[in-house]
Amino acid sequence: MAKLRPEDLDKIAERMRHQTLLRDGAGRAKVTVHMGTCGISAGARKIMSVLLTEVQQQHVEDVILTASGCAGLCSREPMMTVELKDEAPVKYVDLDEDKARKIFADHVLGGKVVTEFALGVGSERLS
């Protein structure tokens, strides 16, 4: 990898936007599993492997599955965020493997929010 120049930062940022933004056709849905120490100790790895299995078994190709750090609300881990194209992200809390499977089937594939496991919709307010 070549060493960057200041102007390269903008190019990387643009490329990333095209790769990760659902609007630009990167995918139909993005699922983020929150994997800080708190999430992992509460079982986030199991949630991630359930989702990976679902993606593989059902040959889903338009869902971006990714990991991120702690979402802040450690007492409600494991948590994940589901974002469908053109819709606000939904945060799910207190997950287990069965709940993750249901959310994947109903929300990620079916487009219907699983309200019983959802904490809220939208994203956090930065300053």
Binding site: M1, A2, K3, L4, R5, P6, L9, I12, A13, E14, R15, M16, R17, T20, L21, R23, T32, H34, G36, T37, C38, I40, T66, A67, S68, G69, C70, A71, G72, L73, C74, S75, R76, T81, E83, D86, E87, A88, P89, V90, K91, V113, T115, A118, L119, G120, V121, G122, S123, E124, R125, L126, S127
Partner: protein, 607 residues
Amino acid sequence: MSKDTSPIEAPKTYRVQLLICAGTGCVSNRSFKVRDALIGQISKQGLSDEVQVVATGCQGFCAQGPIMITQPDGIFYQMLTVDDVPLLVEEHLVKGRPVKKLMYTPAKGEPPIPKLSDIAFFSKQRLIVLRNRGLIDPEKIDEYIARDGYQALAKVVTSSSPEQVIERVKVSGLRGRGGAGFLTGLKWELTRKASGNGKCVICNADEGDPGAFMDRSIIESDPHSVLEGMTIGAYAIGAKNGYVYIREEYPLAMKRLHIAIDQAREYGLIGDNILGSEFSFDVAVHRGAGAFVCGEETSLIASLEGRTPEPRIRPPFPAQSGLRGMPTNINNVETWANVPVIINRGAEWFSSVGTEKSKGTKVFSVVGNVTNTGLVEVPMGMTLREIVYDIGGGIPGGKQFKAVQTGGPSGGCIPESLVDLPIDYERLTEVGSIMGSGGLIVMDEQTCMVDVARYFLDFLRSESCGKCTTCREGIAAMHDIVADICNGQGKREDIGLLEDLADAVKDASLCALGGTAPNPVLSTLRYFQDEYEAHISEKKCPAGVCRALIHYRIDPDKCKGCMLCNKQCPQDAVEGMPKEPQTIDEEKCIKCGVCRESCKFEAVVVE
């Protein structure tokens, strides 16, 4: 008045207003560039008199940023880029046709779940340090760059002198987030001005307070923000080498830090000739063995040099003579993570957040007897009440709030009566506690404050490095006295003796470990002396915690004889027939409390 004769001109009215978000989230998604492009394109189309572009505060849709709302038609655009601007201006502003593909369209029939911005846990927080939490994959540097990562470093190495950077950090009012709250810019300046062969910067990630996990979480969720901050600091100070001193107990944080360093080096964001400039700087990770005293800067340096971690007399301060005699600047993880934002958004903006002398935000790990435990970032000056009740969701189980412990073993307990205290460095010191690194332990009515003091003394006596007699022997002596009080062997003169010992330990210990060790005892004595009195003279523990002073009893009027406690008791100490009131055999009872937890009728009482 029949006629308006005011000479003031009516404000200019526009046909359309474009409200573009300038919150941190949208700015890091380049909303200022989009704004500038909009203004340019609007003037190109000759619409400057009709259309006004306004930068607004955060709208709370940061993940969709940059967002823009058009008035009066109320169209909500999301994820705008500079490339979208010509189309948007042409279609929406010239032809009056909103651009569907850029719009945010809520799903038909909004789902019946709350908005994150309506949930107090999230809405009361203000994210600067944790700006990327949950949004980026911490193991991918490109995701950090996509959210304006390393732009501050680029700005600094291409267009600012080290002195200008120091000036900006000074003007921002940023103070050390590791505990003492020293002005960061001033610390940098002292290290820059110190003469010495080679200089270095250190990131203190030796987070040791029980219940504190701010630094771990920052590194786990956004390691590049810390690296970028350190690199900017190194540029300002003139340092060639940097170290992150992190405890071995943080394997995930360490793994992500190593990945981040490797990726940054590959991109030339650390290493030789950073971003093509003359500036070179590299970072190494040092794993600490988890000794509490290593959070103290001179002990940390000793440990880095391979010596026993013991503090030394200051001066010389590390800024004059630190690691291997080099002028050394040590800042905590959270302090470093603030730096890129200060450069990007400006020192004035940063200093507009917070209180008069405490600027910006503080990250707290909220733990203990509170409904929402977690990691929160709030503006300095927020009251304890807002943190405990609004963000923390209050005390679970309908119990009463009793106190909050801040600053870990070096801090103090703040009673319920001070719940409206605005939290900043000065206020916390006034009430006998400290900001510390940000651990915030919430305690309910079933917490014994004497037992809390005993717990912290027990922690500190085993963590004292032993160099200073007062710290080594004094804390142990204080512990034994408080333990005696908990065991019902307290004497009237103990309180005076504790206060005398506290003075000696404070005055005659070299470092902050000993210097602040008596705080938990002093603050509990200050606010909860009646509890000490009850333990000493009445031989009672009002909170029902100290086992030597309590008895479990079953209230025969409330007991239904359901036998649940009888079955659960590990000692078979509960006796009685089904459907008849039970009794507890005091000879067998070990006061574990299982019966009280299992009882559905509140029939088990502690006396």
